[in-house]
């Protein structure tokens, strides 16, 4: 009886250690649950600069880096240089950088883009429904959408240039026949 109890205790401790090991191995910035691996939810929003329609459909067949941001979000300012570099690097190619303004006023968002000199397209998610469909927790959050329209990955928090380039390169390689 004592032996059985001892084995049970050892098995429980080993199980707990296994669960903790698996949990700590996970990168908290790379949450797999939710929309990753599924088709990117379609949307049509209003462009921040001229009010024209911006829809995901118009970028069909391209790699889309979808970045949720807000002017009040301090980490969004931190990641802006990385986004600018990537935008300059892939401008006019099969890679599109698309911003989505998250819970912010259009005026504040416009002032922000003008001040930082951002020239890539951003659209306003006025009622926050697009963010909900993508499973956004809060800005900044970046989604990598492949040419096949599937969300290949997401990054929670400020993203750096290396993560952006790795994500884009992986999708470009996958898109090549």
């Amino acid at each position: 009886m004592k032996r059985v109890a001892r084995y049970t205790a050892v098995a429980l401790i080993l199980g707990l250690a296994l669960v903790l090991t698996l949990a700590f191995r996970r990168d908290p910035h790379d949450i797999k649950t939710g929309t990753v691996g599924k088709p990117a939810p379609a949307f049509t929003l209003r462009s921040l600069t001229d009010g024209t329609s911006v829809s995901l459909d118009q970028y069909k067949g391209k790699i889309v880096v979808l970045n949720f941001w807000a002017s009040w979000c301090i980490p969004c300012k931190e990641e802006n240089p990385a986004l600018t570099n990537v935008w300059e690097r892939y401008r006019g190619t099969d890679v599109v950088l698309l911003g989505v303004v998250f819970q912010d006023s259009a005026d504040a968002a416009r002032t922000y883009t003008t001040r930082l000199g951002n020239t890539w397209t951003s659209a306003i998610d006025g009622d926050g429904q697009v963010a909900l469909r993508y499973g956004v927790f809060g800005p900044p959050e970046t989604y990598f959408i492949g040419a096949d329209g599937i969300i290949a990955g997401r990054h929670i928090g400020p993203i750096d240039e290396s993560t952006l380039l790795t994500g884009i390169d992986t999708l470009r390689k996958a898109a090549r026949p």
Partner: protein
């Protein structure tokens, strides 16, 4: 006496029917349904708050989406599933039993079962040797020792 007993039984029956009637499931209004679903959903930008209890913009957007889906006559499960598709099971404050996160429901149950099993094993274990009555052989030897002791 029989009449009193019959009246008492009748009163009890009326009381039971009344209680059952008042406890019957009431059809919920749309507002009550929205409240109930919002209470089950976790606010993604808060610390352990439900969508119903959070004043954040995200919770407000989620509540608006729930209201929209209720107006579209979607079922509670369909609405919950829509949020689960975006955020995973994490978005539900009480994880579903049939999911990996549903293991949290099994842990207390497993602890109770293991505890009961250990307690049962202990209860069935033979009493310590000192508590057992002496055997005939032990008694005989004790008597022999006592007899051989000088007075």
């Amino acid at each position: 006496m029989t009449l009193v007993r019959a009246a008492l039984l009748a009163a009890l029956a009326v009381l039971a029917v009344g209680l059952a009637w008042s406890a019957r499931p009431q059809p919920l209004t749309d507002g009550e349904r929205i409240d109930r679903i919002a209470l089950e959903l976790r606010c993604p930008v808060c610390q352990g708050l439900s969508v119903r209890d959070s004043p954040s913009d995200t919770a407000r957007s989620m509540r608006a989406l729930v209201a929209e889906r209720v107006a579209e006559a979607k079922t509670d499960d369909e609405i919950r599933d829509e949020f689960r598709r975006s955020y995973g099971d994490w978005i539900l404050l009480s994880p579903p039993v049939l999911s990996p996160s549903g293991l949290v429901w099994l842990v207390p149950l497993a602890a109770v079962v293991i505890g009961a099993w250990v307690a049962w094993g202990r209860a069935r274990a033979p009493a310590p040797a000192s508590a057992r009555p002496p055997t005939d052989e032990q008694l005989r030897r004790l008597r022999e020792l006592a007899a051989s002791e000088p007075e």
